[in-house]
Each structure stands twice: as C-alpha cells, then as structure tokens.
Amino acid sequence: MKILVAVKRVVDYNVKVRIKPDGSDVDIVGVKMGINPFDENAIEEAIRLKEKGLATEVIAVSLGGSANQDVLRHALAMGADRAILIETDVDLQPLVVAKLLKAIVEREKPDLILLGKQAIDDDAGQTGQMLAALLDYPQGTFASAIEIEANTLTVTREVDGGTETLALTLPAVVTADLRLNEPRFVKLPNLMMARKKPIEAINVTALGIAIEPRLKLIQVAEPAVRKAGIKVGSVEELLNKLRTHEGILV
C-alpha cells in the first residue's frame, strides 16, 4: 500500500502575524516558518502504518517555492521515503491545491491520501474534502483514529458533540485531527539521513492546471481588540459587578 501525504509550509503557530502598512496583505517576510501542525499528524500516521507493515511507501508532497524543501526534509526525517515539490511562487488557494494534488495522485496512484484537517494560516479546512470530491473518493475528515483491514479503512471522526465512525473503501482521503497521534521528535541523525533521500521538483506549469486564485484579496485588517476590563478583589465584588453592571446572575 502506498500513502501520499500533503504538507503545507506555514507561519509558526507561536508567531503573531503582522499586517503590511498598506493593508494589502499579511507581512510574513523573515517570519519563522514550519510544517502545518495537522500535516505533521498526517505524516506520523502514514509512518506508523508503514511501521506496522500496512504500507510499503510514504511519499510527502508540498506546493510552493523552493523554501518548501525544509518541510519536506522534515517529513523525510520523520520517515517518509521520498518527496515531491510542486514548484510555484503563486499563492495557491484550496481548490487549486486539490487540483494539483489530484494530478499527483493520478501519477502515483496511492491507496491512501493523508492531509491535515486545516492549515493554521488560512484556516480554510477545505483541501482534503475538495481532493476527495475531484477524485470521487470517500473521505474521512477530522480523523482521531484509523484502522485498515484489507481494502477497508475504518475512521473515527471528531464531530460536534461526539465522534462518528465510517468505513471507507480504499483508495480514500483522510484528514488528520490533532488527536490522531503524537508526532515523533526528529533527531539530528535522521535529519542528516533525510538529506540523502530524494526530493523531486516539478514545475507547476508541467501539470497544465490553471492556478490563478479564484478569491480576490481586497484587504487585510486587524480585528477589533477586546479591551481588558478591570480586576476585582473578591468573589463578592465580582458578583456585584455582574449583577449591577451587567444585569446577569441577578
């Protein structure tokens, strides 16, 4: 069984992103970047399936500039066998990413495609479902557990108010929730070894897919900041404020 894992390079989750002075976009020049956390869960799951003898090959794929090699090296150091970089400097939106991934799926013919459930930069949470739709594959989104037996993948999904379990006929698309697993730490020797693993670069134009953004960005802005209120000294004072000033808990 072959597994394809899509990884996105995003601004590190600890960084508070700044806006360009003209409000045209966010300013991420020189900001610390890394692998999207949910995508790290996706790689971890793929590698565990390989370690259990259920998968034979794990391929990591990323889309973006040559800087994306760092997240692919990270995936290789975790245990992916090889990597593909679809090279472009255009800012890609989820529908386009899904179309480009579909082209790679058609070439590589994986039995399972794993992605993170959302990227922490655009918070869209669409790519996995869109890819499944374009391939007419079943989808298991927000996965917190998966099991594979023969040609069936059983997925437990985190939904509002509980979990639900589906059986998907492979090939299928699964998007990872944080609860799926605890990604391993990458050790330095693995990082060194990962340098020897191949990264194949494909220029996006070779895939013949229109990549222009559908959504036009008009502007970005800071949200209204919630103002800090006051400190109260006691439970009595707190209740008094809630009752007299807010009219609640009367």
Partner: protein, 310 residues
Amino acid sequence: MTILILAEHDGVQLNPSVQQAVTAAKAWNSAIHVLVAGNGADAATKQAASIHGVEGVIQVNASHLENLIAEDVANLIVSISKDYSVILAAHSSFSKNALPRVAALLDVAMISDVLEIKANNTYVRSIYAGNVLTTVLSSDAVQVLTIHGSNFNAAALTGNATIALVDAPPAFDKTQWKSEIRSQSDRPALSSAKIVVSGGRSLGSAEHFEKVLSPLASKLGAALGATRAAVDAGYAPNDIQVGQTGVVVAPELYIAVGVSGAIQHTYGMRDSKVVVAINQDPDAPIFQVADYGLVADLFDVVPALTAAIQ
C-alpha cells in the same frame, strides 16, 4: 437567483444555527430555500418552514441520507444546484465536511466561516486564528460558503414556507456508516449555551475538573468548556474544547477558570458578551480579554463563587 441553505439537524430537531444562516442569506435580497436531507426528518422540516424569510423547504428522504454522510449530502446538493446561485450553511463539523466537496464538484472556490457579508459577493473572514481579518471577493458563478453563526441574529420562527419533496440521487457506495458516540449530558449544548464555564490545565486533573467546575456549571445552567491543554492532559473530553480547532462559542457569560489565554483559545471565546477570568497568575494573557479578572487560587474562589450564587 435563489439561495440554498443546507440545514443541520439530528433527525428530529433543527439546529438553531439554521436560523442564523437564514439571517445571513437575507444579505442577497433573494428567495431563500432550505434543504432538509435525511430519512423522515419531518419535525425539522416543519421547523425550517417556520423560519421567517424562508420561501421554500426542500425535504429529501432516503435511507442512505439517515446519517448525513458528506459524500451523499454533496451529491444531493450538486443534483439540485442548477437552481441556486448561493449555497450556504452555518459553520460546523457537519457543513465543513460536506460543503468543500460541493464547491469542488461545482468547480468554485469556497469561503469558510464568514463573519460579514458585504455587497457584490464580498466577504470578511478571519485567518491566523482570528488575528487577521481578510476581505475577499468571489467572482464564481455559484457562491459556496459557511457563516460564523454567532455573528448573525437568529431569524424569528414566524414564517410559513411551502414544503416540497425531492428525490435523492443514488447512494455513494464507497462510504458506509458504522456508529456514533454522542456525549450524554444534561447541560445545554456548548455551541449555543448562554453561559459557559471553561477550565484550563491549572485544574490539575480530571477529578478536579469535575469537582471544581461541575457544581458551578450546574448552578448556572451552563455548558462546560475546556482548553486544548486541559483536553490533551485528559482532564476533559475532546468535544468540549473551545478554540481555533475546537468549538467557537459566544455566550452571554464566559467564565474562564485556570485558563492562560493562548490565542488559539481566545479565538474560540472572544465574541462572548461578558468574560470573567479566574487565574492565580496576574500576568496571564486571559486577563487582556476579560471584563472582570480575579487573581486568586481557583480552588478557593470557584467553590466560594458557586456557594454565593442563588
């Protein structure tokens, strides 16, 4: 042009967020239809027909729609999509599973978790865990979006729309429903509760989480919430996580107990009307978003607060 709202329901009750979606849909000043897919969800269908502003309700019954698998829901929406220029739903684990699939099948972009709908298919939504607002314009022929429920008032239940029955396309046979586990609770649903009591890692254990917060929540008729740290530590179940990757809430009162206030958490609660924070650390970031902060040992003041409430 007509607007189609994908209704969320549990087989019996319509989710209250559908009323918020109807208010959002009124931005286009066009006829509004609500789709109730399921297997005999008659009560939910009637509720949908009673929402003010809804012109028609489309009820689709099929055994394979019983559990509302995304693949089947998407194929159904696509089968009736030629009549619609806008397809929307309130943002939830249900809609964000199905609607991106619809958008891809229609070859259009999707706009997730819209905060504000402006003229000419222009939308405001947040990125980077709510730290940045973006305004985007979609020129696609069909607009597919989810809306941030708490940003829209619920439409009144004073309408009387016509109900039409429509046939479902065949089942998507590569996905089979197995089972579900719904958390059993006497408390109100977290996403629509008027009061939320939320706990962080400072509670220290699942036992303390229950012992300290449950009595307060019970007395207030509140839902319980938790930070990701508390959930990861095993103090609270996954489905009550409030934040960027969990549930987003906007109650009238949010009481954060032992919550540090990471941006990923505040994203999920900062639209609350009144925020109370109880934390021993006077520098905890939660105080920057709290209306009333109490710097104290939660193990002392939460029982005292519980006792002081009538």
